[in-house]
Assembly symmetry: C2
Homo-oligomer: 389 residues x 2
């Protein structure tokens, strides 16, 4: 086990009706805030109306910035920073999924640090200063509601880049599974893949003697898979299954599952190029990339992939041919992804393999990616090719 | 799943050599502190010397209060409160196991609240005010290093009572598995039982649809059992196994495993009387009480005990006679406790069954205990009797 430090200060407020607490939580931090969301279903569902009521009750005033879209854009972040500075706001409240939250985090950093906020995403600067961010989550997926990450797309690139700063971890996040009922199945499926891969990025490690976190990762993955099946096999809203998924999505990315171990994260980098170039959803891209990443690595410390197959996918033992057992795990994972409507090959999402060379070049912009094995441009290209079909 | 709020702000600093960071962490909170510990092995091992060096380096001054003993006493807490008030100290640093930490938490509450600190333990008052507490942990067991609990014994009773206040959660805890190497096997075994039962108190619930936390609890219990076996089967210090145990002990009691579910806690109450009256170690008492508590409850929602048997103790399925499967789990648990040198019956620890009536009367002082089933005096007596032998 590696030495580690772990501290997660996000206050989680979970369950039915909890969005009514948004005012009383926010007022602990600020009286004047930026309310940041898509302006679409957040409004039509009545959620934003209820949030405004709650804010009003505690005397919190807001300015509103809507227009957040999937793979949130730098241009909107810049607009948010300007509003916050001009109106002297002290807090960002994100309502929505990972896109709204990541966008809010970027505004929170940009508002209190001089210079261009994009430089943080380009890894030219770092900071421990940001405005406090609170969230009301409506999409279980990104884990951004208690993570230190934010991913933003620069409209000019398109470049999709991330930051990881302790100071952007939300101070509170409100999670009501009922708020997810209006999500289309495709978006739920993308979320399920996203949270599973957040765990897998940490689970696939070469750090030895991490049994406790192995157990926690495996248990969470099984719970996600089982409850995702319940949701997709159920004609009515299933509060309990969605509650499991929603809490799992938070834990998947709050840092606990990586304590004492070194994660990989190559697949996320590979997917960022895919989503930046083709504009497909993050989760869908990961469903295509991750099986290919495993296949590329399967001969490297095969027993870890065999363990994954046995403990997560119920493959029956791995006593003789562990590589075959490991491969059976990948097949079951692909079948599961397909069963919830996710693509697992380029062709399933109509992606053009012609652009693989370009993506491979871009993905190693900062150097090799991943830790399980370090992937250079050639290796990245090989992983993409394994995903073609 | 029940609605819940969860926030754990303790900063965990884990691994080899981490006690050297105690000065730089403490100085973030105070320049004048109370250093609180047993004065025994903490000193002879050289640990306190190293801690003082680290404090000195960052200009932190201390007064010292030694003499903490297992089942820490109110009399010493009162002494600590006096020192802190008289010397105007701003922080309590506990070095040791749960006893030192619980004692430090009591001092932290008493120092900033007027009146008698024991009244909080008698449930006559509550508070959200305490001095900050930091810890350097040397015994993996209580989980007090990131919990909201403190258990103190009133010398006059003997009464053993607990408080649970968010304000006493340590601000940081330093965990170096190497610091546990000097522990006698009996104390390690007590710690293993303590942390397992912290999970079991939460695991045995009637709340339905808590699959994710079920998985996390089961995984952590398996990791604890497996690594305890490694420690007890190994002639040399086993850093990796102890690291798993130590981190598991913290997670067992940091609140995560009870999110969305209602725990039981009758066994801890029953054990508090046992340890108050007979002076045996907390963990040893729990090894006697918990099997009896399961036997008393086994016909109530039997499937939960069967699941425990199958998933934690590897009992082979529970397809036909689930009560038999459940009972097989208890037997395996008892065998495990015995294998690490723990008593599982009154007679194993030379406890006098004559005092059961008295303990049963005392344990329901505040009313019935437990949530799985509410236990009154008669039921408490029945559980004690099942533990006699």
């Amino acid at each position: 086990m590696e030495n580690f430090e772990y501290c997660n200060k996000t206050k989680i407020i979970f369950g039915r009706g909890t969005e009514e607490k948004v005012g009383s939580e926010t007022v602990n931090y600020a009286k004047r805030i930026l309310l940041h969301h898509s302006g679409g279903s957040t409004v039509s569902s009545g959620l934003i109306g209820r949030i405004k009521e709650s804010l009003k009750k505690t005397g919190v005033e807001w300015e509103e910035l809507t227009g957040v879209q999937p793979n949130p854009r730098l241009s909107l972040v810049r607009k948010g920073i300007e509003i916050v500075r001009n109106s002297k706001l002290d807090f960002i409240l994100a309502v929505g999924g990972g896109s709204a939250i990541d966008s809010a985090k970027a505004v929170a950093v940009g508002a209190v640090n001089d210079g261009d906020v994009w430089e943080f995403y380009e890894r030219k600067r770092t900071t421990d200063k940001a405005l406090p961010v609170g969230t009301v989550l409506t999409i279980p997926a990104s884990g951004s509601e208690s993570s230190i990450s934010s991913v933003i797309t620069n409209d000019d690139g398109p470049w999709k880049r991330s930051i990881k700063f302790q100071c952007i971890r939300p101070v509170f996040s409100i999670l009501n599974p009922e708020l997810t009922y209006s999500l289309p199945p495709y978006q739920i499926a993308c979320g399920v893949v996203d949270m599973l891969t957040h765990i897998m990025e940490r689970y696939f490690t070469k750090t030895e003697n991490v049994e406790l976190t192995d157990e926690l990762c495996e248990g969470a993955m099984r719970a996600i898979i089982r409850n995702a099946r319940k949701i997709f096999n159920s004609k009515e809203n299933n509060y309990d299954a969605m509650a499991e998924i929603m809490w799992a999505g938070t834990l998947a990315h709050n840092g606990l599952f990586e304590t004492g171990r070194i994660g990989d994260w190559a697949s996320h980098a590979l997917d960022h190029e895919l989503t930046a170039i083709f504009g497909i959803a993050h989760g869908a891209g990961l469903a295509i990339i991750f099986p290919a990443w495993i296949k590329y690595n399967i001969k490297e410390n095969t027993k870890r992939f065999a363990r994954f197959a046995v403990k997560v996918w119920g493959v029956d033992g791995a006593f003789y041919d562990i590589e075959q057992a490991a491969m059976e795990g990948v097949i079951r994972m692909e079948n599961f992804f397909r069963s919830i409507g996710m693509p697992v090959r380029f062709k399933d999402a109509n992606l053009d393999p012609e652009r693989i060379g370009e993506m491979a070049k871009r993905v190693v912009f900062f150097g090799t990616i991943g830790n399980y094995q370090k992937l250079d441009e050639k290796a990245a290209e090989a992983v993409y090719r394994l995903a073609v079909g």
